[in-house]
């Protein structure tokens, strides 16, 4: 049995009167890529935002490395080792690429380690190095996604939360981004990936959960789910 990193148990999240997550439970083991797929409004992003502390669950528990983190504020959760790439990238548009990366390391103060990691990010995303003095807002959509991922890696997370990395990108770029996600995972970072593009997500993930209107309806190995009739019909276009 693999060592579990993140355990979500029966969480309920509300937006005002709307019951968005109805008792969602899931588990992410160390070293895995786990993906959460589902239609628009199923609650995928809500789940991620609850883990990262941007939203709060009314009941249930979230534990990371055996420690309850459900009550922590977002900035404290980052310090525990969870880093999020928010939906829509949310880079700091009026700052340079370099400044964005430096802010990614906000919680750290080891100058040498930070410089090392900036180089690591540049090796992984060579295009960012070419544009390191450019304002982030002038980057293309794909480059902004790379920057958002690079920035999230700067806090040296154990668990990386990715929210719709394929959003608004051309098919070729999506392929590139997903292969980078695999590389990051192979280098030792556990990944929880929320994605509309179920095909791509299932092709790189180890395990998957299917979310439908706030409930987990299916779960299992990514390969099994990708082959299942039910998933094919609903999310993979036949």
């Amino acid at each position: 049995m693999a060592e579990s990193l993140l355990v979500i148990k029966d969480i309920n999240v509300y937006y005002g009167a709307i019951h968005a997550l109805k008792g969602v439970s899931l588990e992410v083991n160390k070293g895995e890529i786990v993906t959460l797929i589902g239609a628009n409004g199923a609650g995928k992003s809500t789940t991620l935002r609850t883990v990262s502390g941007l939203l709060r669950s009314k009941s249930g528990a979230i534990s990371f490395r055996g420690e309850n983190i459900a009550h922590l504020a977002a900035h404290e959760i980052v310090k525990k080792g969870i880093s999020q790439v928010p939906e829509g990238r949310r880079i700091f548009a009026e700052m340079t690429v370099m400044e964005n990366l430096e802010l990614g390391a906000f919680i750290r103060d080891d100058k040498e380690g930070i410089a090392e990691d900036i180089n690591m990010v540049f090796t992984r995303f060579p295009r960012l190095e070419e544009r390191k003095k450019q304002l982030a807002g002038t980057l293309s959509g794909g480059e902004q996604q790379m920057l958002a991922m690079g920035r999230a890696l700067m806090s040296r997370p154990q668990l990386l939360l990715l929210d719709e990395p394929s959003m608004g990108l051309a098919p070729l770029l999506i392929k590139e981004i997903f292969s980078i996600i695999q590389d990051i995972n192979r280098a030792g970072t556990t990944i929880l990936l929320v994605e509309q593009n179920a095909n791509m997500a299932l092709s790189i993930a180890h395990r998957a959960y299917v979310l439908e209107t706030g409930r987990i309806t299916l779960q299992g190995a990514a390969k099994t789910l990708a082959a299942s009739e039910e998933v094919r019909k609903a999310y993979l276009g036949g």
Partner: protein
């Protein structure tokens, strides 16, 4: 570098005043420009750098003004300690007000701070001890051009260093994108309250300087129209630029003074200027840019910054 430049400007202005080339009317206005630069720069820390739309600056100015005049007039406290206590009290109030209100965003925060500024003014108006609506009389005249200039340099120096520090980076990140800032591990509430407290503190010092210029102050000097005035300076000069705040304070005060003979046109000209500016330069005169990043001296400053890394 920064200090040397400040001292040269100071020597120049002081010399011109001593030689009576600058008359007493403009001498008064230059002093007011100095005070307004403190107010605009401190408001810029809140509105421009941290991106929290505050409209209650005159309220904090009033607190600093009243605390310091009570100390100097009724308790014979020396001028500078009284100013500092006024600043600290204003900062403390900013902290207390900031904690609950900075949970609000955008328009709601603007309305809440506008209301709080007015509450401060009305509370002062109803305290007989400080003269109520009639105002506080018999204030000793302490504020000189030299004091104002000194405190102005101090304010600018402090805010410049704050903005370039890790704390300042955090504030700018909040302005750029609050959710992303939170996701970077920045305690957004802490930094918003910090900027608000510091801004309010310097507004309090400016209030104390303002109060010791004349024989009397009254709550009518601290209405929300004043807060708007400072906001105009900041927006005109450029949200997120210290040079912009200086330029804005200078510009607005200068035009007000120059148009003193035709007060009925003053606001019309202001309004026109603002409309034109928002049309052609919505980011303000300087935008996010500092004067050190422009012109022939650009390379010099950039090299210096690079050397620091």
């Amino acid at each position: 570098m920064f200090l040397a430049l400040g001292l040269i400007v100071f020597a120049l202005l002081q010399g011109l005043m001593a030689a009576k080339i600058i008359g007493s009317f403009w001498q008064l206005n230059i002093t007011i420009i100095g005070i307004n630069i403190i107010l605009a720069a401190s408001l810029n820390l809140i509105n421009g750098y941290t991106g929290q739309f505050s409209l209650g600056h005159a309220g904090f100015m009033a607190v600093g003004a009243y605390v310091s005049v009570v100390l100097t007039t009724n308790f014979q406290v020396p001028f500078v300690p009284a100013l500092l206590v006024g600043g600290v009290m204003a900062g403390l109030l900013g902290f207390l007000i900031g904690l609950p209100t900075l949970r609000l965003k955008g328009d709601y925060l603007a309305i809440a701070t506008l209301g709080l500024g007015e509450i401060i003014r009305i509370v002062i108006m109803n305290i007989p001890y400080v003269g109520g609506a009639a105002g506080f009389k018999g204030i000793p005249h302490h504020t000189t051009f030299a004091w104002v200039f000194g405190f102005m340099l101090l304010t600018l120096f402090f805010i410049k260093n704050f903005v370039n520090s890790t704390h300042g980076r955090a504030c700018i990140a909040i302005r750029e994108n609050e959710i992303a800032a939170e996701a970077m591990g920045i305690n957004t509430t802490k930094y918003k309250v910090m900027a608000f407290t510091i801004g309010a503190g310097f507004a309090g010092i400016a209030g104390g300087l303002f109060a010791h210029m004349f024989y009397i102050i009254s709550p009518a000097s601290f209405t929300f129209m004043q807060s708007f005035n400072y906001l105009i300076m900041v927006v005109l000069g450029g949200l997120g630029s210290l040079t912009g705040a200086i330029a804005g304070a200078f510009f607005v005060t200068f035009i007000s003074a120059a148009l003193a003979s035709v007060p009925e046109f003053r606001m019309i000209i202001f309004a026109l200027l603002l409309i034109l500016l928002m049309f052609y330069r919505p980011q303000g005169l300087f935008g996010y840019v500092e004067i050190t990043h422009l012109g022939p001296w650009r390379e010099f400053f950039l090299r210096k910054e690079r050397a620091k890394r």
